[in-house]
């Protein structure tokens, strides 16, 4: 049987960070990743933060990858961070850039497919030197300990092998946690459901529309009626020449009031402010005359398709900051446009261009982080350990996972040096490192300085909209001393005691709606986007079908009935009073996992995201 020092299960941003750090320390580690290639299974919002905590130290992305700032394919540095409260066509906006910049070196918008492949590239040579590396297309099925206590890894694809330690970086729907019994599945109380679309817009139009230059970007957050009465909200982040637009809702509030995820995202896209953000010029084909000979119809179809493709490519290039010859591109573009119009009767209109639909659960670290993130010689990191930070509209999972992974790698390297992989020497030590992490503090208690930034931002918010319950509290909290005392009190009492107050419909729905109605500006849209249907969205995705389903319904419960509505790919239907699953088209989000036997698809199978 083959032997390796460390197996890292999952090649997302967390697992890749573990490999990099272990390789930096000269240790042998292999990543086993189910996806067809690194990055194809990972999705995020996403803003990747680099943090400078007041107390304690974290390893930031640029500490681990020295050339991150010079070489990595991040999208834009987010320099504007604005929260919008919506009610129909009215919007009340608040600038929260100060909260975004709080204790941050930077926050970059990122797309996970590109970014994770880059991370992987940074580790290949160095990990190879120590006999390690990355193995894609392999799905880990079981981890067991034999009679001599040796750790055996079994997969669906390759022969079993032995390791000394395991780092579980297999994400929020961690099978490792379940198969070894390290923790129970996360509950709906502990999770959010994230659904996202990628919209394509040329770079220069983004710059102009969002008032940024090519290196800068904007983040827009949404609450109010776009939530359709759910706890959570919407986001729009600018990438280089795409937008990441998504909704993130507390799973519990979705179960209470089930609304189809794609309806939730459509509602955001239809908001007049968002519609205006996403619009673009698009060519509209003339209907082909059905009386023409078949061959002629085909010729026209291919001809138009080819021209439109080259129009899109040329325009994208022309409106990007990276080309050298503006004049040449301009005349090429007008030549193509001319041909489209004169040869094929193409006209131009306004719409939006959606490229990718995706979904995944997000763990709320303040509710579900593993208090002891280890089991025997397995260390859990990032989403797998339930470690994500939700503060206000901000989500931090990427930076937390990277820092966790470095801590895990350090603990494992120390165990290798002493050849001691006992719980006490490895697991407890890692747990201690995690307790020391400033991110753990963020998940444990309210930071009064961060709170102040929010309060400052809301200073000008007319208090009449804030309601009886919050008005007096806000007033009280605006006083530095009183706020200090209140926060201390809350932290003694337990942060978790006040979640229900912060995360309530009042905060995400009612107050924003009132604010917008009473004080918002009217934003009107010049068109209404032709929003893709769910079927069109699924059709745009790449899949490798597996005839074996990776999900099995365990019982026909109320929960499963709700999945008929809450599965973002509509994989569940009702037939003769029973809930039926059709796994084809599954986005692997994990929403249905709580009451199913849920696995990731076998190696290489399932969905392949292009953006993430």
């Amino acid at each position: 049987m083959e032997k390796y020092d460390v197996a890292i299960i999952g090649g997302g941003s967390s697992g890749l960070a573990a490999l990099k750090q272990l390789s930096n320390l000269g240790k042998q580690a292999i990543i086993l990743e189910a996806g067809s290639k690194i990055g194809s299974k990972n999705i995020s919002g996403g803003i990747l933060y680099s943090k400078k905590p007041k107390k304690g130290k974290v390893t930031n992305v640029e500490d681990l990858y020295e050339n991150f700032l010079d070489d990595s394919p991040f999208e834009r540095k987010i320099t504007k961070y604005i929260l919008h409260s919506t009610s129909k066509d009215k919007v009340y906006s608040m600038d929260l850039t100060a909260s975004h910049e709080y204790q941050s070196n930077f926050g970059y918008s990122v797309l996970m497919n590109k970014l994770n492949s880059w991370f992987a590239k940074q580790s290949v040579d160095i990990s190879q030197k120590f006999g390690g590396g990355i193995i894609p297309r392999v799905h880990v099925r079981s981890i067991t300990w034999n009679n001599e206590g040796r750790t055996i890894i079994q997969t669906d694809e390759i022969d079993e092998f032995e390791v000394k330690a395991v780092i579980a970086a297999d994400g929020v729907n961690s099978e490792v946690a379940e198969m070894v019994g390290a923790r129970s599945k996360f509950t709906s109380m502990q999770l959010y459901q994230g659904v996202k679309v990628i919209v394509r817009i040329p770079e220069k139009i983004i710059n102009e529309r969002f008032g940024v230059n090519s290196d800068e970007g904007a983040a827009h957050l949404f609450a109010g009626d776009i939530t359709l009465n759910h706890i959570g909200g919407g986001f729009l982040y600018t990438n280089r020449d795409t937008l990441s637009i998504g909704v993130v809702y507390h799973f519990n509030s979705l179960l209470k009031n089930p609304v189809e995820p794609h309806t939730l995202i459509d509602t955001l896209l239809k908001n007049s402010m968002v519609s205006e953000f996403i619009k673009d010029e698009i060519p509209i084909q003339k209907e082909i005359d059905k009386n023409l000979p078949q061959e002629e119809q085909l010729r026209i179809r291919f001809g138009v398709a080819k021209l439109i493709k080259s129009w899109n490519d040329t325009r994208r290039n022309y409106l990007s900051s990276t080309h050298d010859n503006t004049d040449e591109l301009k005349s090429k573009l007008s030549f193509i446009q001319d041909q489209m119009v004169t040869k094929y009767g193409v006209t131009f209109g306004t719409d939006y261009v959606e490229s990718e639909y995706s979904a995944k659960l997000i763990p709320d670290g303040k509710r579900c982080r593993m208090k002891k993130p280890f089991f025997k010689n397995i260390l859990f990191v990032g989403d797998a350990a339930g470690r994500g930070i939700f503060v206000g509209p901000r989500i931090e999972g990427l930076n937390v996972g990277i820092d966790d992974a470095v801590r895990a790698a350090n603990a494992v390297a120390r165990a290798i040096d002493k050849n001691d992989f006992s719980q006490r020497y490895l697991g407890e030590y890692y747990s201690q490192l995690i307790d020391e992490s400033p991110y753990t503090t963020d998940m444990n208690q309210i930071d009064k300085d961060y709170l102040k930034i929010f309060l400052d931002a809301t200073k000008n918010v007319p208090k009449d909209s804030i309601g009886k319950r919050y008005g007096p509290i806000l007033k009280l909290m605006s006083n530095d001393t009183l706020r200090g005392i209140a926060v201390k009190f809350v932290n003694i009492l337990g942060y978790d005691k006040i979640f229900s107050m912060i995360e309530s419909e009042d905060t995400y729905v009612k107050i924003p709606i009132q604010l917008a109605e009473k004080h918002g500006k009217i934003v009107s849209s010049s068109y209404s986007p032709n929003i893709l249907s769910l079927a069109e969205r699924i059709e745009k995705l790449n899949y490798t079908e597996d005839h074996v389903s990776h999900i099995i319904i365990l019982k026909d419960s109320e929960f499963m009935k709700k999945m008929i509505v809450l599965c973002p790919a509509k994989c569940f239907t009702e037939e003769g009073g029973k809930t039926i699953l059709q796994h084809e088209g599954c986005l692997e989000c994990g929403t249905c996992s709580h009451e199913t036997e849920w696995r990731h698809p076998r190696g290489e199978k399932g969905v392949h995201y292009q953006y993430g």
Partner: protein, 292 residues
């Protein structure tokens, strides 16, 4: 460890998948107008070579006879199997060659490759008007054992033999798998159903390493490309090109629509006699499937 020395002969073919085929008025393929790619069967041959490289360690050379537009095919082949050497055999006098004229050029080319070959791979056959004879003819000219329709193989480095599974289709019987052992050197024409599989972590790591290397190499494939004309190959002008091709094409027809012919016998599932007949037939078929 001495590495295996492997050659892959590949072919540039029209890209049927693009729907971009173009015909001359006389019905023959208009090659200059048709987009080209590495033939799908050639790609599988390169994959088969890659398997040996990962599993046993090998030096791979690729050869093709074609015009200069073959470069992209060579690049693709290089990316598929992480070859070290690319050969392009290009001369006006090679034009109009049939399979035997082609085989002569490729044989000469293989002999120009560094060292003596242990295995030569070729695709099953080309998709554009070839009859699957080039492979056996090269093998015959080289004096190598020819193994056709190979669906999987392994090598015993000590004994210097290859064991291969061949897919045989015989009239009236569904597919048979024949397992054979032959001493190196061999010429393997790979079956279209061939797919390599690496079953251990270390093989997967090695495959990943070579795939990355292949990607780099393919980006700079010109550094490893050598071109030969008939003189440089030392080819006998009477054996190559049109002159060396005894085939006479007397008619060219468009690809005919395939007719489905099936002999079906309708059996009644409730009739025990019919069931017995079915089971017997299935048993016979199963018994006939694997011949060692």
């Amino acid at each position: 460890m001495t590495l295996l020395n492997i050659a892959v002969v590949v072919k540039l073919e029209p890209d049927f998948s693009e729907g971009s085929i173009s015909y001359n008025p006389d019905g023959t393929l208009n090659r200059s107008q048709t987009k080209s790619t590495l033939g799908p069967h050639s790609k599988i041959a390169a994959q088969a070579a890659f398997y040996a490289k990962v599993k046993y360690g090998a030096k791979i050379s690729i050869g093709t006879m074609s015009g200069h537009i073959a470069n992209s095919a060579l690049q693709m082949a290089m990316e598929t199997c992480d070859a070290e050497v690319l050969h392009l055999y290009n001369d006006k006098i090679f034009a109009g060659a049939d399979t035997i004229g082609t085989a002569e050029v490729l044989k000469k080319g293989i002999e120009k490759m560094d060292g003596k070959m242990d295995i030569v791979f070729s695709g099953h056959r080309a998709t554009d008007g070839e009859t699957g004879q080039t492979g056996p003819q090269i093998a015959w000219k080289l004096g190598f054992t020819f193994l056709g329709n190979v669906i999987s193989y392994d090598i015993n480095l000590e004994k210097r033999t290859v064991t291969a599974k061949r897919l045989l289709s015989l009239r009236g019987i569904s597919d048979l798998i024949q397992e054979i052992e032959a001493p190196l050197p061999v010429f393997i024409a790979i079956d279209p159903s061939y797919k390599y599989y690496f079953s251990t972590a270390s093989l997967r790591l090695t495959a990943e390493k070579y795939q990355r290397e292949a990607h780099e190499r393919a980006n700079n494939y010109k550094d490893r490309l050598q071109t030969f004309d008939s003189e440089e190959l030392g080819a006998d002008k009477t054996l190559v090109g049109l002159v060396g091709s005894p085939t006479i094409v007397y008619d060219v027809q468009r690809v005919p629509q395939g007719k489905v012919i099936r002999h079906a016998e309708i059996l009644d599932g409730s009739n025990p006699e019919h069931i017995r007949k079915t089971v017997t037939a299935m048993r016979e078929a199963l018994n006939a499937m694997v011949i060692k």
